[in-house]
C-alpha cells in the first residue's frame, strides 16, 4: 500500500497562538493519523522561507489584535506575498481563520482610516468597526455534505466581498462577514477564508475531511478518505444547529 504523506505549513504560529487555532492543526494531524496518513508539519514563523511546492495544506489562524496583525501584515508583504500567491495558483489548500482571513484579502482598514494591505488571495476587504461580533455561528454551505458548518466568531472587522468573490456560505445564525449581508467567509479556488475561529475543523469533521481530501489530491489523484466515528463531533454540531432554530 502506498505511504500517504500530507505536508502541512502553519503560518505565523508564534504571532497568533490564540483563539484555539492550534485545534485546527490538531484536528488535521489526528484525522490523518487515525487513517494511517502521515503528516509533516512545519511552523512558518517570520523569517522561515518556503517555496510554493512545499506544502499541500497551509493553516493560517489568529486573533483580532490590530497591533499583532499589522506586524504580520508587514511581514507578509515584505517576504511572503509573492510565494503565497504562487502557492494559491498551484492549488495548494490555504485555510485562513479569524484574524488571518482579512490578511488574505485586499486590505484592512483601521479605525483611523489607515489601510493595511493584504496579500490579495481573496477579493474581499475589511473595515474595523466598533461593533463586536461574538458568538455562535451557523452557515449553510452548498459545497459541503452535510451542508452546514458551525463554530464561534469573534471579530469586529466587517468584511465585504468584491465582484469576483464567492462566499463560503449563507449565515443562518450569527453575524458572518459583516452582519449586513447574509454572507460568511470567502472561497477562491483552494483558498478559504472564514470568521469561524480556532477549532472550527474540530467541530466540523466534514469540513476538515473536505480540506484534507482536496489537499491530498495534488499528490495522490483519486485518493479517498476512509470513514471515521465522529459521533462526539456530530453531537456537538447538533447542539449548535438546533440552538439556531
Amino acid at each position: 500500500m502506498q505511504d500517504v504523506v500530507l505536508h502541512v505549513g502553519v503560518l505565523y504560529p508564534d504571532q497568533m497562538p490564540i483563539n484555539g487555532d492550534y485545534g485546527n492543526l490538531t484536528t488535521v494531524v489526528n484525522r490523518c493519523r487515525w487513517r494511517n496518513i502521515e503528516t509533516q508539519t512545519t511552523d512558518l514563523s517570520s523569517g522561515v522561507s518556503f517555496d510554493a511546492e512545499t506544502f499541500d495544506l497551509m493553516l493560517f489562524g489568529g486573533g483580532e489584535d490590530w497591533a499583532i496583525r499589522a506586524t504580520v501584515a508587514e511581514d507578509l508583504q515584505q517576504t511572503r506575498a509573492r510565494v503565497l500567491r504562487e502557492t494559491a495558483i498551484r492549488e495548494v489548500v490555504i485555510f485562513a481563520t479569524g484574524g488571518a482571513y482579512p490578511l488574505c484579502g485586499r486590505y484592512l482598514e483601521t479605525p483611523e482610516g489607515k489601510r493595511i494591505p493584504g496579500v490579495g488571495l481573496l477579493d474581499v476587504w475589511t473595515r474595523e468597526s466598533d461593533a463586536p461580533m461574538v458568538g455562535s455561528i451557523v452557515v449553510e454551505c452548498g459545497w459541503l455534505s452535510p451542508g452546514v458548518m458551525t463554530g464561534i466568531e469573534r471579530h469586529s472587522g466587517k468584511t465585504y466581498l468584491g465582484r469576483t468573490a464567492t462566499p463560503l456560505g449563507r449565515r443562518i445564525l450569527g453575524h458572518g462577514n459583516n452582519g449586513e449581508d447574509p454572507t460568511e467567509g470567502c472561497r477562491n479556488r483552494n483558498v478559504f477564508g472564514t470568521n469561524l475561529q480556532g477549532p472550527v475543523l474540530a467541530y466540523n469533521p466534514h469540513l476538515a475531511d473536505y480540506l484534507v481530501q482536496l489537499a491530498l489530491q495534488r499528490r495522490y489523484a483519486g485518493y479517498t478518505l476512509s470513514r471515521l466515528d465522529d459521533a462526539a463531533e456530530w453531537r456537538l454540531h447538533r447542539q449548535v444547529t438546533e440552538g439556531a432554530r
Partner: protein, 453 residues
C-alpha cells in the same frame, strides 16, 4: 462633600445587602459596585486610609493566590490586611473590598490593603492606591487579551513604572522573559526579582518556541523550562539573560497533595511545607515571601504564614465529602489548565476527573482556548473522566483528540458533580477542573449544603 460620600457608601452597602437577601444577583453585585461605577473617588479615599499602605499584585495568573498568602503572613504578624479574595482582578472588586470593610462613618479598620488587578488595570491601580509594592507575577501569552499582546502590556506598564518613585518597590518574576524583557533597568522604583531554581524542574512546553527577546526579537533560548514559558533563559542575539533573583525557591519536592521547598531570602533561608500542591502555588508563595521581606516581616512569621494558609476558594481547595475528596481547581486559560493537570498527575495512580466548563457567548458557548492546552498528557492516565456544563460537548471533542476516554457527558454541573463523587471509591480523590462561572455555582451549592464553611 463628605456627607455625600458617606451617603453613597451607605446606599451602596444597602443595595448589596438587598440584592443578596433576595438573591437577585446570586452574589455577583457585591458592595462597591455602585461606588466603583459612579463615584470611584470614594474607593480611592478609603484606600488612602490604610495606615500601612497597599500592595498590588498584577499579572495573568497568581495575583489572587499570592495576595492570599501575603494576607495570611500579615495576619500572623498581627496586622489586619484587607484582601481582594474573589480574584476578579477588577476595579469593582477593589471598591468592594474597601466598601465592605468600611463602617457607615467611612472608617476602615484594616491597616494593609492587598489588591489583585488584571494587567490592563495596573495604571489605574497604581494611581488609585499609590502602593508600597507592585508585584508582577507573570505574563502568560495565552491569557492576555490586551492590544498588542504581552508586548502591548509591557509598553503600557512603562508609563506606570515611570510614574513610580524610588520609595516604591517593584517585585518581578525573574523566570518570565516576557515580563523581565519589558523593563528598562533605570526605572525609579527599587526592583527585586524573585523566582524558582531547581534543575529537576524540566518540562517540555510548546509555548517557549514562540517567546522572543523584547530587545532584539531573537527567539529566546532556554536552559530549562519550569512552567509554561517560565524558566532559565538567555537571548543568543543580544546576550540579555534572566536576572538573578534575590528571593527564590530551591530543593523543590512537589507532591500530589503538598509541596516542600526552601526559599532563599536576604534574611536567611526558609524551609516551607505548603499544604497546596503544584508549582504555581510555589511561585505564588515565593512572590508573597518577597513582598513580606520587602515589608520587613520576620522570616519565621513568613514561614508560618505560608504554611498555615488555606487555599484560595476554588484554587487547590480540597473538600472531604462522605470519605471522598473533591479537589477543586479553577481553570481560566491554557496555562492554568496545563498546571492543574500536571498537579493532578503528580499522584501515582490514574486520576478521576470532572471538567465543568461554562463559558457563555451570544447564542452559545466558547471553549476555544482549551485547544491550546496540552491535555494529551492525560491520555492513558485516567481512571474516569466526566464532562459537564454548557461547554461539555466541546470539552468531550477536545478530550477525544487528546486520546482521553470520556466516561460520561452530563448537561447539569451539579448532577455531574454528585454522580462523579458517587463513582469515586471511598478514600480516593476527584479532581474537579472548573471554569470561573461553573466553579462559582458549584461552591455556592456546596456552601448551601454545608460542605464549605
Amino acid at each position: 462633600m463628605r456627607f455625600l460620600r458617606l451617603a453613597a457608601l451607605a446606599i451602596d452597602k444597602s443595595l448589596s445587602r438587598t440584592a443578596d437577601a433576595f438573591e437577585f444577583t446570586r452574589g455577583r453585585v457585591p458592595p462597591g459596585s455602585l461606588i466603583a461605577s459612579v463615584w470611584p473617588r470614594v474607593a480611592i479615599d478609603l484606600a488612602r486610609q490604610l495606615k500601612r499602605g497597599s500592595i498590588v499584585f498584577s499579572g495573568v495568573n497568581g495575583k489572587t493566590a499570592s495576595g492570599h498568602f501575603l494576607a495570611n503572613i500579615l495576619r500572623q504578624a498581627g496586622h489586619e490586611p484587607l484582601h481582594t479574595a474573589l480574584g476578579t482582578g477588577s476595579l469593582e472588586e477593589f471598591a468592594t473590598a474597601l466598601v465592605d470593610a468600611a463602617n457607615t462613618n467611612g472608617n476602615l479598620r484594616a491597616d494593609y490593603g492587598i489588591f489583585g488587578f488584571d494587567e490592563d488595570l495596573l495604571r489605574q491601580a497604581v494611581e488609585a492606591c499609590a502602593p508600597k509594592i507592585v508585584a508582577l507575577t507573570n505574563l502568560y501569552p495565552d491569557g492576555i487579551f490586551f492590544p498588542g499582546g504581552a508586548e502591548g502590556v509591557t509598553q503600557e506598564w512603562q508609563h506606570v513604572f515611570a510614574a513610580m518613585t524610588p520609595g516604591q518597590t517593584l517585585l518581578v518574576n525573574a523566570d518570565d522573559p516576557t515580563l523581565c524583557g519589558g523593563f528598562v533597568r533605570t526605572v525609579p522604583p527599587r526592583i527585586v526579582y524573585f523566582g524558582v531554581e531547581d534543575e529537576k524542574l524540566r518540562i517540555a512546553s510548546r509555548l517557549t518556541q514562540y517567546i522572543r527577546c523584547h530587545r532584539c526579537h531573537t527567539p529566546i533560548s532556554y536552559r530549562l523550562v519550569s512552567l509554561s514559558h517560565l524558566g532559565d533563559y538567555r537571548c543568543e542575539g543580544c546576550g540579555w539573560e534572566r536576572p538573578m533573583p534575590t528571593v527564590y525557591a530551591i530543593h523543590i519536592d512537589a507532591g500530589a497533595e503538598e509541596s516542600r521547598f526552601r526559599i532563599i531570602t536576604p534574611s536567611g533561608p526558609l524551609d516551607v511545607r505548603l499544604k497546596i500542591p503544584g508549582l504555581p502555588a510555589i511561585y505564588n508563595a515565593v512572590a508573597a515571601a518577597a513582598a513580606a521581606i520587602a515589608l520587613g516581616i520576620n522570616p519565621a512569621v513568613i514561614r508560618k504564614g505560608l504554611e498555615t494558609a488555606p487555599p484560595s476558594p476554588g484554587r487547590g481547595e480540597t473538600l472531604t465529602i462522605s470519605d471522598r475528596q473533591a479537589h477543586l481547581l479553577l481553570i481560566k486559560n491554557p496555562t492554568s489548565l496545563n498546571e492543574s493537570v500536571r498537579t493532578a498527575l503528580a499522584a501515582s495512580r490514574p486520576g478521576r476527573y470532572l471538567f465543568l466548563t461554562d463559558e457563555a457567548v451570544e447564542n452559545g458557548f466558547d471553549l476555544s482556548w482549551v485547544w491550546e492546552a496540552e491535555l494529551e498528557r492525560l491520555s492513558a492516565r485516567t481512571a474516569s473522566v466526566y464532562v459537564a456544563g454548557t461547554g461539555a460537548l466541546q470539552m468531550a471533542v477536545r478530550l477525544k483528540h487528546a486520546g482521553v476516554e470520556v466516561s460520561g457527558v452530563l448537561a447539569d454541573a451539579s448532577e455531574a458533580f454528585h454522580h462523579a463523587m458517587r463513582h469515586t471509591p471511598p478514600g480516593e480523590r476527584l479532581h474537579v477542573l472548573a471554569t470561573d462561572a461553573a466553579m462559582f455555582e458549584l461552591r455556592q451549592e456546596l456552601a448551601a449544603l454545608g460542605e464549605i464553611g
